[in-house]
């Protein structure tokens, strides 16, 4: 290795550490600070730093690190993750927030596969999320079924439900998929509100998770540290998120990734060269819905409750907006966008009332001014496949 490339590697690693520290630090700061004024200043500082960082080339360098030294970067991220967990171990609300962010980020990974890679419109993300949740609720009474199975079933049923919609979704013109998923979302919501069997508008209670003989509603003690009980969920969800992040990366960085992009960019050329477009669209759609269903089941169990009001068209729209905000097709952008969208409205009390209005205006501006989103999707380079 020449001196230059060593510097390159070292620089990339350092950048990754910087970015991770920055993200972790921002997360902790936003979650811990209670005073609204301090919080506002903090957010402003973070915004300014986020603006400067890419210009210093740190972001690019970190991305390179992710491409060339994935396991080093994964280790750094893991250390960062556990550090955050350790620091926030007493703050139950903070832990719940982190868990929620990871859940939504995973669902948005699914949408990234559907929309970012395969080009399918899905305005029913919340409905598939809800399907997983209601599956968990219904199976909650079946006590002999292990929670792990319930969670996976949540994903399978969501995927199965999605296949009902597959015919219009496969059509070339995007608006058929848009309408079908839109209608499905409304249908889903309407059905749940009207149907007493599934709890009606008041909702249902859902039992929490008990896995590996451990009841997740108990606080977690590791060594001399005690973690508030949501930490259990954070660890589980973090693990699931990591798995699905790898899954998404492997899909993108494979022949399948190219096929999905080809299907999205030019169906006719794709089929002329031998791709059976319907197969790949179906794969993307089903995979994405599976992710949503799994996370829905986990979410319902974590919050111990499920109601139709959480799964409206607005929620589905939010998911699509997150994916676009993050930079369509960029997995890390999804995580960052989710953090922003979930955290800020929760913590910035003074904008609570206006949060939907502000959000829609921000997205409109984004679409007009910077449609590529926060993190652009890089051209796929098959240099590291691990």
């Amino acid at each position: 290795m020449t001196m230059i490339s060593m510097k390159g590697t070292a620089g990339q690693i350092i950048s990754s550490i910087l970015v991770t520290v920055f993200l972790a630090g921002s997360l902790i700061a936003i979650l811990e600070i209670e005073d609204q004024r301090e919080l506002g200043i903090c957010v402003a500082v973070i915004a300014v730093l986020s603006f400067i960082m890419p210009r210093l080339g740190i972001l690019r360098s970190a991305e390179q690190a992710g491409a060339h030294h994935p396991w080093a970067v994964r280790s750094i991220i893991l250390i960062g993750f556990f550090s955050v967990l350790l620091i926030l171990r007493d703050n139950n609300f903070a832990l719940l927030m982190i868990a929620t962010i990871l859940i939504y980020a995973t669902v948005c990974l699914g949408i990234t596969i559907q929309t970012g890679y395969a080009g399918l419109f899905n305005f029913a993300g919340a409905a598939f999320l809800g399907t997983g949740g209601y599956t968990a609720a219904m199976l909650g009474n079946v006590t002999w079924l292990p929670d792990a199975v319930t969670i996976i079933l949540g994903g399978i049923i969501a995927a199965a439900l999605g296949t009902l919609l597959i015919l219009p979704v496969l059509r070339t013109r995007g608006h058929y998929a848009a309408l079908t998923t839109l209608a499905f979302g409304v249908l889903f919501n309407g059905f749940l509100e009207a149907n007493e069997l599934l709890g009606g508008p008041q909702g249902l209670k859902v039992p929490g998770i008990q896995m590996f003989g451990w009841d997740f509603s108990n606080d977690l003690a590791i060594g001399s540290y005690t973690f508030s009980f949501y930490a259990n969920y954070v660890l589980l969800i973090g693990a699931i998120f990591a798995v699905f992040m790898m899954f998404t990366r492997f899909v993108e960085r494979s022949w399948i990734g190219i096929w999905l992009d080809a299907v999205r960019l030019d169906e006719i050329a794709a089929s002329v060269f031998g791709l059976k477009v319907s197969v790949w669209k179906s794969f993307a759609f089903i995979a994405g819905n599976f992710l949503a269903g799994v996370m829905g089941a986990v979410y319902a169990k974590m919050t111990a409750f499920i109601a139709p009001a959480n799964f409206t068209f607005g929620d589905s729209l939010l998911l699509v907006a997150i994916v676009l905000l993050g930079g369509i097709g960029n997995r890390w952008g999804v995580l960052i966008a989710t953090m922003i969208v979930i955290l800020l409205p929760e913590k910035l009390q003074f904008i609570q009332e206006y949060r939907l209005l502000l959000f829609s205006c921000v997205i409109i501006m984004l679409l007009m001014v910077r449609p590529a989103g926060l993190l652009a999707r890089r051209v796929r380079v098959f240099e590291e496949l691990r």
Binding site: D266, S271, G274, L275, V381, F382, L385
Partner: protein
């Protein structure tokens, strides 16, 4: 390369008609493409050349007649099935995925040679890595025939290429799948005379390397047709009006009339 049986004609269109509403775009076309030949398909604008390609590749449906590829009836097959039978093509209007890399675009042409299984792609990453490396090498070699600089741009987005390089990329994409027969739709459109000549040399060189591939080429530049083709078919208003070596058809009065009008 699998040896092909030499008595089956690679491409036969018999009685092929295509109707768009009231318009008869192809009128009972009978065309044979012989093994290993370069067949020129010429005719004035709107004579049905691209329509012919589109029907063969399955994009348009035939209203009547048959298309046989190596003896197999592909008339009613979908494009992806026809591709599996060994047909590749380029498009008159460039159809590259501009935001994807040169490599990605090329690999689209190699679909039938690559493993699309989920298990392999997601879990046998080591095997995938090996296949990607060898594919990249093959890609570089193929591109280098056309333009050595292009071989170095494997990981650049296609949008960063100039027009001629994009054309070359499209042609390579058609060739990398080791097809049995290639349809080239106006590969030299928009190029100067010299550029066209150069492109033709490159195509012929690759063709030789691939064991005398069968090619059908639509072109407007007659010099190219004269030099590169073994035979020509002339279309006018969707009908075949003449067929034979370039020298013969160039002298044919019907052909002159088609291009220049009645005097």
């Amino acid at each position: 390369m699998v040896a092909q049986s030499n008595d089956v004609i690679p491409l036969v269109a018999s009685g092929l008609s295509v109707k768009f509403g009231g318009l008869l775009a192809l009128n009972e076309l009978n065309i044979e493409v012989r093994r290993g030949e370069v067949l020129g398909l010429i005719g004035p604008n709107g004579s049905g050349k691209t329509t012919f390609f589109n029907v063969i590749s399955g994009i348009y449906a035939a209203s009547a007649g048959k298309v046989l590829l190596d003896g197999q009836d592909i008339t009613t097959l979908k494009p992806y099935q026809i591709a599996a039978h060994g047909l590749a093509r380029t498009f008159q209007r460039s159809r590259l995925c501009l935001s994807l890399s040169v490599f990605d675009n090329l690999m689209l042409g190699a679909v039938r040679r690559l493993n699309s299984g989920l298990w392999y792609n997601l879990l046998r990453r080591d095997r995938l890595a090996v296949d990607v490396r060898s594919a990249a090498e093959e890609a570089r070699d193929l591109l280098a025939v056309f333009n050595p600089d292009l071989a170095g741009k494997l990981w650049e987005p296609a949008i960063s290429l100039g027009m001629i390089d994009r054309r070359r990329l499209e042609i390579c994409r058609a060739l990398i799948g080791r097809p049995k027969i290639v349809l080239l739709d106006e590969p030299s459109a928009g190029m100067t005379h010299d550029e066209t000549n150069q492109l033709m040399n490159e195509i012929l060189e690759v063709r030789q390397n691939l064991g005398n591939l069968t090619i059908v080429i639509v072109e407007h530049e007659m010099g190219l047709i004269e030099r590169a083709t073994d035979r020509c078919v002339v279309l006018n208003y969707g009908k075949k009006i003449c067929e034979g070596k370039y020298a013969d058809i160039a002298a044919d009065p019907l052909v002159r009339e088609a291009y220049l009008g009645k005097s």
